[in-house]
Structure formats: structure tokens, C-alpha cells
């Protein structure tokens, strides 16, 4: 009964939530919409997984890092958390990339002597 992988996923998901809250990336933009989007994503990828497992493409590794709890044959409990992380990360990245590019543009225009830059950034 290893919980290492599950704990690692939990830590990563906590990071996603903190970043989301801090920069209003996904759930903190519109909670209901984010919840439905995430649910659709996770269910879609679970179906993909199950088909892959059914056809015999991938299988769960025998490792001490996982709890051994299976939701279906060869489908570990951890996979749900992994897919949640993949979906949340994707949406955080898409929103975060906008902010990162915005910041870059502001810095660039500030350096080239642009007068009106850095609006709204201040607090950190």
C-alpha cells in the first residue's frame, strides 16, 4: 500500500489550486463553468484510458508507489487524480500564458521608454 504517487498528485493539485486562486486562472474565473469543463475532460480521458486498457495497450505497473486500489481492471485510483491534474494544468497554462505574455509586453514597452506601462500589476 504505497501512497507516494497519490500524495505527489495531491501536492501538485494543491499547487494548481493556489495558482488558480492567485491569478484567477480557471475555477476562480467562473467556478461552475470550470467544474463542468474539468468533469467533461476527466470523463473523456477516462473513457480513452479504458479503451486503451481494454485493447491491451497499457496496463498498471506493479509498483510500491501506488495504493493498489483499482476503479476498473488495470485502472488505478490515482489515474483520476492524474487526469484532473492534466486538465487543471492545461487550463491554468492557457490562462497563465496570457498573463505571462502581457507582463512581457509591458516590460518591453517600459524598457523602450513607453510611458504608460505596468498598470494593474503592482501587488504581489
Amino acid at each position: 500500500m504505497g501512497v507516494l504517487y497519490l500524495v505527489a498528485l495531491g501536492v501538485a493539485l494543491t499547487g494548481m489550486a493556489l495558482l488558480d486562486r492567485r491569478f484567477a486562472l480557471f475555477f476562480w474565473r467562473d467556478g461552475w463553468r470550470a467544474a463542468v469543463t474539468l468533469l467533461v475532460g476527466v470523463v473523456f480521458f477516462l473513457v480513452w484510458d479504458v479503451v486503451g486498457i481494454d485493447v491491451g495497450i497499457f496496463f498498471r505497473g506493479e509498483t510500491s508507489f501506488m495504493t493498489g486500489v483499482q476503479l476498473a481492471p488495470e485502472l488505478p485510483l490515482e489515474e483520476v487524480f492524474f487526469l484532473t491534474l492534466l486538465c487543471w494544468l492545461t487550463m491554468n497554462l492557457l490562462s497563465g500564458a496570457r498573463l505571462a505574455l502581457e507582463l512581457l509586453d509591458e516590460r518591453r514597452s517600459a524598457r523602450s521608454g513607453g510611458a504608460r506601462a505596468g498598470s494593474g500589476g503592482g501587488a504581489s
Binding site: 504517487y5 486562486r21 492567485r22 491569478f23 484567477a24 486562472l25 476562480w28 474565473r29 467562473d30 463553468r33 470550470a34 463542468v36 469543463t37 474539468l38 467533461v40 475532460g41 473523456f44 480521458f45 480513452w48 479503451v51 486503451g52 485493447v55 491491451g56 495497450i57 497499457f58 496496463f59 498498471r60 505497473g61 506493479e62 509498483t63 508507489f65 501506488m66 490515482e78 492534466l86 486538465c87 494544468l89 492545461t90 487550463m91 497554462l93 492557457l94 490562462s95 497563465g96 500564458a97 496570457r98 498573463l99 505571462a100 505574455l101 507582463l103 494593474g120 500589476g121 503592482g122 501587488a123 504581489s124
Partner: protein, 148 residues
């Protein structure tokens, strides 16, 4: 059936859903052209490209770790054998699908109420800032933030 064959099926589903989202977004924009100009296309493409690069690199790193420590195994007869490190190239279809499917679903769910925009403003300062930007956008509002 190979891993690529299954990926093809799911990627077609993703593409179909994305097509529907684009079509709906297009018809919505036509219906309310004047009121919401939206962000420039070049800006959206740049952000999507950056997110794509980051997610693919992260997938390469973490997929290699996950396979390396033995969390998942593959039937060598059903994968192409093309690998990034020890990760089958096929695995990257998940990341590509996520990058297309999720924003499309998000877009399809969009209603009349626009979501909050991502912001660098700290949550504790957000209420005040959002109130003032709403006021600035509202017709006839005085531009108080000029005083700052």
C-alpha cells in the same frame, strides 16, 4: 488495434467538438459584433502556442518519470516504437487533446455573463480593482483611476 488507431478516434472526437465550439463562438460574435470586440487573434495564438510548448515539455518530463518508476507499462506490439526518451510518442496525444478539448468545452459553456479575466491583482485587492474597472467601463463613468 494499435495505440495510434485509438488516438485517431479520440482526436477526431476532440476536433469535432472544437469545430462546434468555433462555429458557436463565430455565430455569437456575429450576433454581438459591436458590443464585444474580444481579444486580438494574434494575442490568442501566441498564448496558446506558449501553453502548448510548456505542456508538451512537461508531458515529456513527467511521462518519462512515470514510466521510469514503473507506474505504467505498454504492450510493445501495439505502440509505434517512436519514443521521446522512454515515453511513447502516442502519449502526447493526451496533452494535445487536452489543449484543444478543454478550452473548447469552456467556450461552449459560455453564456451572457463573461467570466472574470485572469489577473495579476492579488485576491485580497481584487474586489476594489474589479469594482473600479467595471465603473470605468460603464457608460458615463468618471475616470477616477487617472488620479493614481
Amino acid at each position: 488495434m494499435t495505440y495510434w488507431a485509438i488516438n485517431a478516434v479520440f482526436l477526431v472526437l476532440v476536433a469535432t467538438e472544437a469545430g462546434a465550439a468555433l462555429l458557436l463562438a463565430w455565430s455569437r460574435r456575429r450576433a454581438s459584433r459591436a458590443s464585444s470586440p474580444g481579444r486580438p487573434l494574434a494575442e490568442r495564438v501566441r498564448a496558446a502556442a506558449l501553453a502548448t510548448v510548456v505542456l508538451l515539455v512537461m508531458t515529456a518530463v513527467f511521462d518519462n518519470v512515470m514510466i521510469g518508476v514503473g507506474l505504467v507499462g505498454y504492450d510493445e506490439a501495439r505502440i509505434s516504437g517512436v519514443k521521446i526518451g522512454i515515453a511513447p510518442l502516442e502519449d502526447f496525444a493526451y496533452a494535445v487533446a487536452a489543449l484543444v478539448l478543454l478550452p473548447s468545452v469552456w467556450s461552449l459553456l459560455g453564456g451572457r455573463r463573461p467570466p472574470r479575466e485572469p489577473t495579476r491583482v492579488h485576491p485580497r485587492d481584487r474586489a476594489g480593482v474589479e469594482a473600479s474597472t467595471t465603473a470605468a467601463v460603464a457608460p458615463g463613468a468618471t475616470r477616477e483611476e487617472e488620479a493614481r
